[in-house]
Subunit: 296 residues, 2 copies
Amino acid sequence: MIDVRRLEALVALRRTGTVSAAAAQLHYGQPTISHHLRRLEVETGSVLLQRVGRGLRLTPDGERLARRGEEILALLARAEAELTASTSLQAGQVRLAAFPSAAATLVPAAVALLVERHPGLGLDLIEAEPPEAAAMLRAGTADIALTFAYPGQAEPDGVTAVTVHEDALYLVAPGSLDPGAGPVDLARFADTRWVTGCERCRSELLALCSKAGFEPRIAYASDDYVAVQSLVASGLGVTVLPGLALRAHRNPDVVRLPVPGAARRIQVTTYGAPPHPASVDAVAAVLTEVAGASES
Amino acid sequence: MIDVRRLEALVALRRTGTVSAAAAQLHYGQPTISHHLRRLEVETGSVLLQRVGRGLRLTPDGERLARRGEEILALLARAEAELTASTSLQAGQVRLAAFPSAAATLVPAAVALLVERHPGLGLDLIEAEPPEAAAMLRAGTADIALTFAYPGQAEPDGVTAVTVHEDALYLVAPGSLDPGAGPVDLARFADTRWVTGCERCRSELLALCSKAGFEPRIAYASDDYVAVQSLVASGLGVTVLPGLALRAHRNPDVVRLPVPGAARRIQVTTYGAPPHPASVDAVAAVLTEVAGASES
DNA sequence: CTAAATCATCGACAACATCGATATAACGGC
DNA sequence: GCCGTTATATCGATGTTGTCGATGATTTAG
């Protein structure tokens, strides 16, 4: 393989016309360039130069090689610049996987902060539930993810999840219901019909009800937090939804009552261990910040 | 500037998936690849790789850089192959400057020999008189030249001329002339009108006549050896033409008589001193051969 | 839990890029 | 024609670094 430093010497010679000038341009000593040119000829077994007077001239072969070399050096410089831009957060694209209610609440705020802080950084948003998101991280389809986990849940393998927010759970009931005073006792709804929120929340709902001493009668199920609230508003049952889902959409005909001690953890999840690319760290930072600011 | 060897390691890693396999593919030891990858990350200040299990994975930045690197390495290989092809005479283009009568006689024969010997070598023919040809060599517009020189003429500066043929001069007279016996005595035409051949030959003609004891009365002049012969055939005068010109074109209505001891040297002329590019040497060889074979 | 596989690290050696000093050659002016 | 200037080539010395073998750390598979 042709040594690029020697090519560089040849290109500089072609541009400047003399070895000394080429050396100056490359910040080298004159013997260094002389040496590289000689080695380039020996190593390729070609005649690239011809002495003329006290200078040098490129042969047709030398000319052609120098032209190719110029192109190659330009590509190298381009690749380096591209990488530097990405490293210094002036460019790049980060693929973020997020679950629906976060995509509608935290992500827009994070994007706003990101464009303000790093205008060159782009963000591709992919909606995905936590297990799917972890799989995408492992597969390299996403670079970072927003996930959630219920208490006691082990985090998926191979990824690093950092909790950035405690997302309280609320009992959601028809607007006609009297909220009453003090904390909610789920047992009060033991005989009501239930709607499950997202699919993963079903097991958490069962655990909460079991702790309250009953088993809920589940009449309807949907992943869609808008649809679920509509069902509740129509008086078809009650449900439990996390705060983020209620912040994303709030049906005016439902009331929400905090369920004491019930919450899910919102996590910023990345693949493998640090260090991560600067762009990923930057996105993680804005996500953490935005999630922290929503503690209230 | 990014070191190409490190890039090569990254590309090989991307292709093979593991450092060990990449090392094997590049005929290196495994620590060498490990080292190059680490240095590449340090030197560019980027995160290009991520440990996963007992293997490595490329980050998006690493992926992009590897793709660029693949392209760059391909270009390098292409440039090298191109150069090798030229060096081994499988390709290339040589620009040959030749004076008209040689272009019509020696050059076609040389081209025939060249295509037989090196089918990949191409030849660009440029018609040029010797001084012009030498200038083209100096200017880099031609790579090799066929020139001629009259006895005692110094060869132009900066070029190397090798005589490959003695080209005898002939007195050319109208066909009606009785050739007579024995060598020609130019003095016999002292009172005839003269036509000069090519422009450069005028001084040689004057010298020959002067040696014969008279000064020719020059009625017409032309560079064109076909036109000159027409003039002579029409009985407008006599002239002196070199053998090559007569071989290129022979007007049936003229007779030619050798002028004893009068000749020009046909030369293969190159720029500067050896070594010359292999393609130039190859063209010089066929020219020399063809010119030598025409000695008769 | 053991064995195989993989990458990282370390120390050592050889190769080589680079430089300063100097030799050699060519141009320009007087 | 001689001499200062301007080129490149060469040489010896030195510091850097590419490369390897051996070894350690970690993970996967059986």
